[in-house]
């Protein structure tokens, strides 16, 4: 087939969308050819999701035109998008948890007022779709009882059941193990072979290189380039995303190991529902070392950080520099931990690391507000805190360097820098750091990684929890994999690879 005579599956012409003063999309034009996988890559806030929301009828563009299969199409709501053959798999699944797979699939696409015939029809076509695309699911399983990989299949099946020819996937691999992600890409390949058009939105360069035919890069609301994937490289894409050259690899020397700083033996955590979240964990971190904890989200990593950080109770033995730490009771709190030299950069910076409506300087004082340098008699010396914050912001390149600005007005990367500055500058013996670069743009990732490595080189112990395997592999000296509340195994970072760790993350003994 000749591309010149085929109408593009989707063509956007001059799409603009502003939210107040923020121009989320600026004059964006893009052509997606049928039967291809088209990647859209860009940093957080580059406008990818806004663009796709316009395409799915969530927002109305201020300017611009949409053509589907060569026909000019208005998409005022999701109903119109579905009618135009567009299916969307959101990053956060839109499924009803206590409904069955089948009920979720027919929701909104029932054939008539009574459910029975609709369900029977859906069951039949579900089996056909399953066979056609290797998308096997149990139609009668409840959503809350199946894994995220399965839930994602249900979302894809939902779109296919509505006869979508164009499938948009927004950050589809965020919640998947590497093997589940591979499986997803196989399914996408199969869909492409059947003539479906797929738009893959991601910030992961590797996925773009592996899965797509064409890739469009977005930066600050603009489409900066569209290139054939075969003609580009991860380095070039990163540069297009950020607007300057980026170091994708972390520069670091072999570690100089010191004494054991953190020693954890048989740590157990049982949550309020009586579910055992940590099942007898043992690990240690030495001075001058980064221990990376890999694993799919929800396998006990959060609980580990919470217990060590002092805001959840546990049982077992934890020592810092050879001295025991209380895991329950009066002295088991964040303040005592900080006084002992444990700094904590929590996983969810917007909920646990910062108070979003408070200013940067107030946030910088949190947890350290008893610092004598911040006092003036019985009052808190706000000017001193602001001064200190300003200096920290400068050292950590926080932009804009204005201590009076509320935390919510900084970008994700700059928020993280504020938290990092607060914790690292206290010269802790041990740094607990969760998801250091979640929602952080590439430029800031580079800086944050450098800071973590610099801290290690000062002889500090670092416990790093991340769901990004690439991040673990590039930062950590040693990797422990968590699965279902226990440690599947430990590997030296140099002696393992994504494949092995991926299997361990899925609970496979290796």
């Amino acid at each position: 087939m000749n591309n010149d005579t085929t109408a593009p599956a989707i063509e956007l012409k001059g799409i603009s969308k502003a939210f107040g003063p923020v121009q989320a999309n600026k004059d964006i034009s893009i052509r997606v050819m049928p039967g291809t996988i088209h990647g859209i890559i860009g940093e957080n806030g580059a406008g990818k999701s806004t663009l796709m929301s316009i395409l799915y009828g969530f927002y109305k563009a201020d300017k611009g035109e949409i053509f589907i299969g060569g026909q000019k199409t208005e998409i005022p709501d999701s109903q119109a998008a579905i009618a135009a053959g567009i299916g969307m798999v959101f990053q956060h699944f839109k499924l009803v948890e206590n409904f069955t797979v089948l009920e979720n699939i027919i929701l909104g696409a029932e054939d008539g007022r009574l459910l029975k015939p609709s369900l029977a029809k859906a069951r039949k076509s579900l089996l056909e779709l399953a066979a056609e695309y290797e998308l096997n699911v149990d139609p009668d399983a409840l959503i809350e009882e199946i894994g995220v990989g399965m839930q994602q299949r249900v979302e894809i099946l939902k779109a296919l059941y509505r006869q979508a020819d164009i499938l948009i996937l927004d950050e589809p691999t965020g919640v998947l193990t590497p093997s589940e992600a591979d499986q997803l890409f196989r399914i996408l390949g199969r869909l492409r072979a059947e003539g479906k058009t797929i738009i893959l939105i991601t910030h992961k360069l590797r996925e773009i290189m592996e899965a797509t035919d064409t890739v469009s890069v977005m930066r600050r609301g603009e489409m900066t380039a569209t290139v054939k994937t075969a003609d580009t490289s991860p380095e070039e894409l990163a540069e297009l995303m950020v607007g300057r050259k980026v170091l994708l690899q972390v520069d670091k020397t072999p570690p100089t190991l010191g004494d054991v700083v953190l020693d954890v033996q048989n740590l157990r955590v049982v949550d309020e529902q009586g579910v055992e979240r940590l099942k007898s964990i043992s690990l240690n971190v030495r001075a001058g070392e980064i221990l990376g904890i890999a694993g799919v989200a929800g396998n006990g990593q959060s609980e580990l950080l919470e217990v060590l950080g002092g805001y959840a109770d546990g049982t077992g033995s934890v020592t810092l520099n050879g001295e025991a730490i209380d895991l329950t009771g009066k002295y088991s709190d964040g303040k005592t931990r900080r006084a002992r030299g444990i700094a904590h950069v929590p996983e969810d910076r917007q909920r646990e690391g910062l108070i979003m409506d408070y200013s940067a300087w107030e946030n910088t004082a949190f947890g350290y507000h008893d610092d004598p340098a911040y006092q003036s008699g019985i009052f808190i010396n706000n000017a001193a805190i602001r001064q200190d914050t300003e200096e920290k912001m400068e050292r950590f390149d926080v932009r804009p360097p204005n201590p009076r600005l509320a935390a919510k007005n900084f970008s994700g990367g700059n928020q993280q820098k504020i938290v990092l500055a607060r914790e690292i500058e206290r010269n802790p013996d041990l740094l607990l750091i969760g998801q250091p670069t979640r929602g952080v743009d590439i430029g800031a990732i580079e800086f944050i990684h450098q800071q973590i490595v610099a801290l290690r080189d000062q002889g500090k112990a670092i416990l790093l929890v991340s769901v990004e395997l690439e991040e673990i592999l590039s930062l950590a000296d040693r990797v422990a994999v968590m699965f279902d509340g226990h440690i599947m195994g430990e590997r030296a970072a140099g002696e393992t690879d994504e494949k092995e760790l991926g299997l361990m993350m899925a609970g496979v003994e290796t």
């Binding site: 839109k94 009803v96 409904f99 009920e103 909104g108 008539g112």
Partner: protein, 326 residues
Amino acid sequence: MDFFTLIQILDATVRLAIPLLLACLAGLFSERAGIFDIGLEGKMLAAAFFSAAIASMTGSVWIGLLAGIAASLFLSGIHGLASITFRGNQLISGVAINFLAAGMTVLIAQSWFSQGGRTPSLSGAERFNPINFPGALTTTNEVKAASPLMQVYSELLSGHSLLVYVALLTVPMTWWLLYRTRFGLRLRAVGENPAAVDTAGVSVVGLRYAAVAICGILCGIAGAYLSTALQAGFVKDMSAGRGFIALAALIFAKWRPWHALYATFLFGLFQALELRPDVIEAVIGMKVQGQFLGALPYIMTVVILAGFVGKAIPPRAGGEPYVKER
């Protein structure tokens, strides 16, 4: 306690459980769609007043019933506007409706009838009168002398007003609507995850308004029942906390229609026993304070909420206004 007394108590149970049942199902529709409604009480009260007032003025209980439903729907509309369209706090809106109804009914009653906040007593066609089944005995003495089966037929099954039978039919209808129709599937979905409904191309706002409207109609019938069937006229605060007991029953029933029937009948039984302290004393051999029986529904609800008798999980999106986001 003889058999006839038992039948009498059960008969009272039915009569007292009906307004609870209707209000409970009203709450069920609203809460299943994700709109918490603590304004059941206020809606019932307003409906009770307007049914009685209009029935008294027109001489027709049917016009009264329509007026009651309209009043309740009006308050539902306010609740919908505040909590669906303007995404306000559903509890605050509900509280406001309760206050509004409590004050407004007495005020208008005084202004219209000048009887100290009451409506005139209703009689004849101004009320829903008991329907006697064919062959059913009507006087107490006749029933007392009849066979047990005849007692059940005449006292318990026969002799209720039309609204009682309507309310009982509402239970299977609600179940069928919720679990067997497209509307029910969408309604349940919108209370669990409105984003799923929205992305499937169905209007969240439309569904929620529909649910709130059904809630208004059922509350309207419940209120009309209070003033035109159970009693003969409106008196101040005559809903007497039934809207709140209905909410308790809804939790007790874990938001399921058939269980709502069981829960409201259990709570209706407590209310019936509250009126017959002599029977309790005769059966268990000690005096029980009427207030204790009045408090029992709430105590049982707390026990349920504490998770002693299985977990009561409310619809997951309940109380949260839906804001489109990704």
